[in-house]
Point group: C2
Chain length 342, copies 2
Amino acid sequence: MASMKDVAKQAGVSISTVSRYINGTVYVEPETKRKIEKAIEETRFQPNYIAQGLRNKKTQIIGLVVPESLSASFTDFVRYIALITEQNGYELIIRYVKDDPEVEKAVMLKLLRYQIDGIIFIRVSDKSQVEELAKKFDRPIVCMMRGNINEKIPSVVLNNYKVGEIVANLLVRFHHTKIVCITGNQNVAVSRERLSGFIDNLAKNDIVLPKENIFEGHFTYESGIDAIDYFISQNIDFTAVWGSNDLMAIGAMNRLQQYNLSVPKDVSVVGVDNTAIAHMLNPPLTTIAQPIEEMCKAAVELLLSLINPIQGTTIVDRIVFEPSIVLRGTLLPIKTNEEMMI
Amino acid sequence: MASMKDVAKQAGVSISTVSRYINGTVYVEPETKRKIEKAIEETRFQPNYIAQGLRNKKTQIIGLVVPESLSASFTDFVRYIALITEQNGYELIIRYVKDDPEVEKAVMLKLLRYQIDGIIFIRVSDKSQVEELAKKFDRPIVCMMRGNINEKIPSVVLNNYKVGEIVANLLVRFHHTKIVCITGNQNVAVSRERLSGFIDNLAKNDIVLPKENIFEGHFTYESGIDAIDYFISQNIDFTAVWGSNDLMAIGAMNRLQQYNLSVPKDVSVVGVDNTAIAHMLNPPLTTIAQPIEEMCKAAVELLLSLINPIQGTTIVDRIVFEPSIVLRGTLLPIKTNEEMMI
DNA sequence: GTGAAAGCGCTAACAA
DNA sequence: TTGTTAGCGCTTTCAC
């Protein structure tokens, strides 16, 4: 690998002139320019980012920390973030971590030693103390997917309350009244917000969701299965299941079919996430989508704007995205009495 | 961020002594040791990897280049590689790239500027000229998933011929004779190898696979759908479909059901990959699994052994892993005449 | 407009 | 065993 020294020698100029030419910091004579260009060509010189990083204290690298357990839901996030990072001329160091504040802290410290310019955290757990971490870390941090707990940290999030609201209104519009719900861990703000949105908006339509109709799962396929087993064992009568992520909805759907209940004829199913699998199911899953690409773009750009602040710009530090509905085959309206008459 | 200088001052020793203590290169007096330890504690010193990298020309970072198009199949690979990389004390820079040799070259050059210690390429396309790239790149490269084309490059691969062989023998054992097959792009060695293994081993059992019974897809869900449309439009009679990846098999499965053909009663379906989705389908998909975690481990360790060669060790540079079968609900034996009599 | 020189944080050869 | 020094490749004052 040729260095600036080589280029300088080849071009018969000083190293600093080469540097200035490369960075366009000051005007260089056209002749010198030409000589340097030629020398760069000949030596196939490429600036060394590590040396630049040491000098500038900016490495053009950002870190992405993803919870190991939820990797299935976040694959698209990883890809988009990688793509957008790259489009902005940065590289991305990725880390999958356990849901453990100590581990998170260790990872941050390690990444700090690489002098990375900032970190995107994908976090749902309430446990991680991102705000506290951010204080120790003297570089920008952006948090994604985090529920609205009392932390002041630049964030990109989904309107999780709205998720529940949309599903509730949808089921109401389709005349469902006997409803069960599979939530995620209630010690996680995201889950709580989704559930409140759901309960509140059912209530607005005079539907009360009994405690027994709520099953607390762990966002896994197996939770969906367990939930149905539970509802059936409790002799709960229902025509609609909402799983607060796709995985649980899919588990539920398959279990229902094993009980010889048809989806959607006997029971409608709705998920959340619009994972790649959702449309491949039979019937394809009705679900709530989040604008993943836009969210990733927002997160990367937010982070970069924190890394390279532009004068006179005020930075919004909590960007909320709205969920949208994806109607597919697992949802059917309940026939009302009137319709039944026809 | 405290530097060695700070530690040295605090401890009243020279910078090099601190360095030597940190790296354990030579013996240091217990007293000095203690002073340094205390100073490190107080300053919260952490060695700067960028400075070390500049000096040592090793950054403790490796790169992972993944084809953008196939991201769905490779999510597990990314996660395992990240995990294993981390266990070995390295960081991982990830890049998703288009299937285009020019882009690949550009990415390599860019990563080279970061002085990364090596690259793992996940490549299936024949187009990418990894061997040529490796020559320009003066650091180790390990290639994964690549078909056996005439390139000398350290690789970790699946025995793709064996994949076809296993499926062929399985179908034969289950008395299927009317078989159709959805292959991946035939300009890709991986696809060709899988297909040869399949055809050869059917032939060994006196089953010829007519050209019309082979549909060339692109490893996508849609290809599976198209394939079934094609077979049906051609009035081809079949009791088993092999899709050379899960996505295509799933597409086929769903399309069959839309034609009111039952899987597996009317038609058996077999995939390849054992993706996370496979067991969530109804019925769950019979498929061929590759030992992903082991393969990732092998790839990372192979790369690291190239980065840090150990004297007297010879490095195997093509590691082949064997596929295995995952029997699930989409495969049923054909009743033989004898059995029909009973 | 360009060059010389110092320094980012670290390691390693050379002395002592 | 420890300190001094040079240098990895780059940027940026400070002269001229």
